[in-house]
Amino acid sequence: MTLLALRSVSKSFRGLRAVRDVSFQVAEGAIVGLIGPNGAGKTTLFSLVAGALSPDAGEIAFAGRPIHGLHPHQVCAAGIGRTFQIVKPFAALTVRDNVVVGALLRTRSAADARRVADGILDQLDLGAKRHLPAGSLTLPERKRLEVARALATRPRLLLLDEVMAGLRPTECDEMVLLFRELNRSDGLTVLLIEHVMRAVMALAARIVVLHHGQVIAQGTPAEVVRDPAVLECYLGEEAEI
């Protein structure tokens, strides 16, 4: 079943056509990678799906229901969680309270939300830091906090915007394992923007390549890395995956 479907989605900023006529689908339970060079329109596309921007043209459907034009909080309530590429922690709140804010969406009381938050923090290896202010975390920890907060809203689809950037290879592998586990056990669908090809290749069953706002290729990782157009604009001729 198709969980997320984009049909001919376009978005311009004045003269700049950031996203042009983009169509692709994400099946329920899939992990799909979104790659492309800087400025290709990946984050704009995320903002369109998450409701932070509304498309100039085209349709976005989630679980069969149109979601373009909805506000971000409505998109989240519909079941889409997102992380921000430039992390946005609630700096003055504790790590735990950051996650509690997310968990309150689907819990009855603050006490329930705290329980949910503690479970997620342990999963993301942030349990020991739960009482520290989020502003004191290192960048890799803040990236994990972004993921924890988004997971706390119990999404069906998780949008990950470069959460592996700046992580050490071992940390990156741990993150990959976590998403695989969530995908397998909870059936979580994931759409991820990522430059760390090691992570994309390990996670994604399908990859969509964006360049100048357009989809130039999509398919399995093996197909995409051999695509001449992708090699030319993004991976480079001598890419070794």
């Binding site: 909080h73 989240c76 922690p89 804010v101 907060r149 988004a150």
Partner: protein, 322 residues
């Protein structure tokens, strides 16, 4: 925890016993402190919790005071009924300002400007309302009474002291409960980062409206108290921007967004400024504007050395001492 509880119990006992221990002057200073503590707490709901800076809270004090005052002055209706009208008007005003700002994306400094403007044009408007006394002011009938007339809220100073003490306790308890609730979490999230809050499913428009409406409702009570305690209302004074600044000085100096900050700030500021005025008066000096000068100096010192306010610094020191 035990020590904090004990300290709180001592403070409560002291506040209860104060009228028996203090003279009329000390009682009036204590009443003033509690008045600012309460109003600061109300302002703190908007700024400290939800991060929406209001520099025009005198608007709600004034409208609240005039609403209940006019009902009493013209129709002899007591403040317990007038309070509801005051709240209703202030909530409507707060909702109107909030709607304008949040619907059209006016935030930060621009939002603060909108609050100042609202208080200012209300002040000018009230100057032209003859029914409410215009610039000449409205005076509630004063009668020196020793008996407590609770129905009409007329009585000796000690009655007003206990009334504002009760309001303070209520506001403090309300803020305590809110800070642990969904509303408290959501407001703080909005204060810290509104985009991230939205992405976590928070309808930020709705929650910001709620903060403004609750804060204005709480502040209207200050106005009703002011009207019946001082018995006179002048647009030029009650809506003045210096009154709005006075309201926020307590929480800013005590600690924005904390529960004890508004109380601590109000106590410190009122005691020191009264002390300065008194001691200057004792040596025969009457310098106009010395209070404002003093406020400026304290504010400068706090912003430079303790930008989070006194209470966060104090509480972390107390915790370390344990």
């Amino acid at each position: 925890m035990n020590r904090a509880g004990a300290a709180l119990a001592v403070l409560a006992a002291l506040l209860m016993a104060l009228p028996a221990l203090a003279g009329p002057y000390a009682l009036s200073v204590a009443t003033l402190i509690l008045y600012f503590a309460y109003t600061g707490q109300a302002w703190n709901v908007m700024m400290g919790f939800a991060g929406q800076l209001s520099l025009g809270h005198a608007l709600y004090v004034g409208v609240g005071g005039y609403a209940a005052g006019a009902l009493f002055y013209h129709y002899g209706i007591g403040p317990w009924a007038g309070l509801w009208l005051a709240m209703l008007l202030c909530v409507a005003l707060g909702a109107a300002i909030g709607f304008l700002a949040f619907r059209f994306g006016i935030s930060g400094v621009y939002f603060a400007l909108l609050t100042i403007a609202s208080a200012e044009f209300t002040r000018i408007g009230f100057d032209h309302l003859g029914w409410l006394g215009g610039p000449g002011g409205m005076f509630l009938k004063v009668a020196q009474r020793d008996a407590w007339d609770l129905v009409n809220f007329r009585g000796p100073p000690v009655m007003y002291y206990y009334a504002i003490l009760l309001f303070c306790v209520f506001a403090f308890a309300l803020c305590f409960v809110l800070s642990k609730s969904k509303a408290g979490y959501y407001w703080q999230a909005i204060r810290e980062d509104e985009d991230a809050a939205r992405a976590l499913g928070i309808d930020t428009f709705r929650w910001k409206m709620l903060a403004v409406m609750l804060s204005s409702a709480m502040t209207s009570v200050s106005g009703v108290f002011f009207a019946f305690y001082y018995n006179n209302l002048f647009p030029e004074q009650i809506f003045n921007i210096s009154r709005s600044i006075e309201i926020i000085l307590g929480p800013v100096i005590g600690g924005v967004g904390t529960l004890f900050g508004p109380v601590l700030g109000a106590a410190l500021l009122t005691l020191l400024s009264e002390g300065i005025t008194e001691s200057l008066g004792a040596i025969g000096l009457d310098i106009p504007g010395v209070k404002q000068l003093f406020y400026g100096a304290v504010l400068l010192a706090i912003v430079m050395f303790l930008p989070g306010g006194l209470w966060p610094a104090l509480s972390s020191r107390l915790r370390r001492a344990k």
